[in-house]
Symmetry: C2
Subunit: 368 residues, 2 copies
């Protein structure tokens, strides 16, 4: 069995251990020789070039992804050439285009924030008027980690973006906290879900994850599962799907965004679940039976390492962390430090939530 | 940080996931492009050739091993060239030469079976006479997995071996069961130990491991730890050391053999402990602080996949195992099937020993 991953970032990198353990050969189409997933990079090239991607796909049983940036024409060319592409282009489109997603969720009756497609200042002004004078505007494509997202109260606040085409405007949701429901689905339809988790964002970037989401009501857990199940099945997702959710002050659960690949909200599963999201993703895209999503400890906490030390010397911090927190699970992505960049994460598992959070935070703090 | 591993077998292969997670670059000197650790093989060459090994060592921070077969002159050449070699040649000699080991353990007062160096038929006859007429004879070097080991009751039973030099003769120990104490030691002297485990051997090959060793007395656990600590410290071992032990019918603990590298008796730690033996080995040889050896479940069971299906088609069995045992952790080594060959293992963790053993055995059985 041989899996080809397009994109050489940390998600591809973290698929490598799972592939090695399962006896699966893994090849990565990376953006450079020094990509995060470099140990598996067999081809360096441009993922927007159909010829490059087709050549890379020739020797693998299935193509999957580290990111959602492969253009639809390239995805279609793969399918036309008989390549198994998982998730497929029709599903992936919903992770690539936020307007397509909003329309589809509306059709499916999945709860989501108030939203509108706005093509000009007048439409944005009308939406602002309707939703309290302050909204979030997003570029439908290409946004990530806070990029392509702007909070505006002035209808002229995104004039620079409107020239490029219609935008997505969303109500500013009064939320109590953010949640994520991670699910895996194989082509045959089987679905597996990990527990609902709480995610803590800052500046549009995931900072911490607590698993399971503390103090969740059974209703919220059930609704989150139903939403994730509906989306995975209706969109025909194959592989891991992360559904990012708002838990509102008035106790509703609304879909924020989707990712159709392993996701930051599931990194804790490497250390905290019987089957990690990376192993499950490989199983799912190869149409293998899914593994147990049981947790190995009552609580897991994951804290991202963002940016890294100003001197860029990660290696010097590693012994300090290891000496101070022998139970912390360190994950570094082989990336250079840069302000705000996700360069690693630290997970801790425990019988006690506070203990897990303390260890993970203490560990990650060594990289400031 | 960059680690170079000499030897491309499954032990090197299983260091790869740990290296990837810790952000450590790993390079392997493998015997072929298709070696088990192929994803990390950067050099294909002969580990008995000093020039090959020296060239491989040039780009790494430390050299360590997948096996104990690198000749002493090659190890010494590395040290002379200023390369950090862990474990070092003086320590490794005890894992390479069983006579050297027996002499040293005797000096240290470590309990071991009755033994003798026998250079000819007369000496073997005398040892047979002294120890009940039936003994184990071992070639001092090069034996593994039952090779180089013969049970004899006739002083002429190893005439074919005697021509090559003195042999090690050992009493046939009346043992209740076999145990293994896994320990890791870093150059600075810090030591970490996982719980004592029970190993089940068949035909000289490890078949199953139960962790912790069921029904162990506190005394046996303490003695095993003291033995492992004494050996690791006195021999100056760096990295993981496996001490294979007999628990005798009269309740003594005797040293059977050593391995100075991750060992089959520690494979369960990948799934069953906070820090796996592979991660710990990398930490130890890089002189990084050691990780927690806490178990993540009360019980772990590991069952080797030996030989594999007669049709050689491992991939066809994988979906069956996964469908039947979603909680089983499958580890395949990317090796071709061959009768008796270690090609993978299955681990299960549980609150209940019988449950863990059942799942691991049921999983491994799919590869018969």
């Amino acid at each position: 069995m041989r899996v080809g991953v397009i994109g050489g970032g940390q998600l591809a990198r973290m698929m490598v251990p799972a592939a090695v353990e399962l006896g699966i050969d893994i090849a990565v189409l990376g953006e450079s020789e020094g990509a995060s997933a470099r140990i598996a990079v067999t081809t360096v090239g441009d993922h927007t070039d159909a010829a490059t991607v087709l050549a890379f796909a020739r020797d693998v049983d299935v193509i999957t992804f580290d990111h959602e940036h492969v253009p639809q024409p390239v995805l279609r060319a793969l399918v036309d050439a008989g390549v198994a592409v998982r998730p497929g282009p029709d599903a992936l489109l919903h992770a690539q285009d936020k307007l397509v997603l909003r329309r589809r969720l509306q059709q499916l009756g999945v709860p989501q924030p108030e939203w509108a497609e706005v093509a000009d200042t007048g439409e944005l002004a009308a939406f602002l008027e309707r939703t309290g004078g302050r909204v979030v505007v997003k570029t439908p494509r290409g946004g990530y980690d806070g990029h392509g997202v702007r909070v505006v109260s002035d209808a002229h606040g995104v004039d620079d973006w409107l020239a490029a085409g219609p935008l997505l405007a969303e109500e500013l949701v009064d939320f109590r906290r953010e949640l994520a429901q991670l699910v895996a689905r194989r082509p045959s339809g089987d679905i597996a879900m990990w527990p609902l988790v709480e995610t803590v964002q800052g500046g549009g970037v995931c900072r911490e994850v607590f698993a399971p989401a503390p103090h969740s009501t059974a209703r919220v857990e059930r609704v989150a599962r139903e939403i994730a199940h509906t989306i995975a099945a209706a969109l025909g997702v194959t592989g891991v799907l992360a559904v990012e959710l708002f838990e509102t002050d008035d106790d509703r659960v609304l879909v924020n965004e989707l990712a159709m690949r392993p996701h930051n909200s599931g990194h804790w599963t490497i250390d905290g679940a019987v089957t990690s999201q990376f192993e499950q993703h490989l199983r799912a895209v190869l149409d293998l039976p899914l593994g147990s999503t049981r947790t190995v400890a009552p609580w897991s906490a994951m804290v991202n390492v963002l940016g890294g030390p100003a001197d860029g010397d990660l290696d010097a911090r590693v012994p300090q962390l290891m000496a101070d927190q022998p139970a912390a699970k360190l994950h570094l992505y082989g990336k250079a430090t840069r302000p705000g960049r996700k360069i690693g994460h630290v997970t801790a598992t425990s019988d006690d939530l506070d203990d897990a959070v303390f260890i993970a935070r203490a560990g990650a703090a060594f990289f400031r």
